[in-house]
Amino acid sequence: MGPTLDQMLVLSAALFGIGMIGTIVRRSTIAVFMSIELMLNAANLAILAFGRAHGVMEGGILVFVVMTVAAVEVGVGLAILVALFYFRDSTNLDEIDQLKG
């Protein structure tokens, strides 16, 4: 038993939407990162729901890979954030608007 595919997809879409709103409206870089994590998790939910609906095990494998990508992304992203703070003394996205080294 458990939730149906439709229920999971509605939840996943809602979570993805909330994450997308977060990436657009927040000014703090780290809050944008967290919103991106929300979107990745919404994708994971959809992947696993589809895998279960089709009766294949590959869904779990794909979720595992996505999870690794997300962990690496957070590690490198936060390192970039620390370096950025070293140069600018700020992580406000409105103040970081040029790509000069």
Binding site: N41, V63, G75
Partner: protein, 170 residues
Amino acid sequence: MASLAFGILALLTIASALAVVFLPRTFQSAVWLMVCLITIAGHFLLMGSELVAVLQIIVYAGAVVVLFVFVIQLLNMDPQETPVRLHARRREWAVRVAVVFALVVGLFALLRGAPAASHAGPPVLDFEHIRQLCALFLSQHLLAFELTSVLLLAGIIGAVLLAKKEYLKR
């Protein structure tokens, strides 16, 4: 029964996701992100993927959230936050600790009551699913597995390089 559990979990997921996005302090966002990720692990469990649920808690609710909190505190991202003076807000903290304690005790009581209810049905946990998943991952999808490890290595090297003082001074 399962649909009730799904409803409660889904409500918690959406509410905590909204809290992550709309609470002003980044530290509060990080704590609610942890709640959200744990409820998503609950969804994975409901869908019958125990391995993915456990990995979700270890990797996301554990490592990733700790990394977020670490960077928030390191860069002092909530400048309006003054250091907490425990003795000045004693009553508030007593209430918080009491609520958490009650929740933990309640959860424990719930879990103690659970096996009696599940004796009627088939056993919930069976590790055959995990064994099959891992066998599939290490045979048919070995390339993806190896690429994952290469990606992790690249991530480690990149993070160390970016955080090095010599690189930053350049």
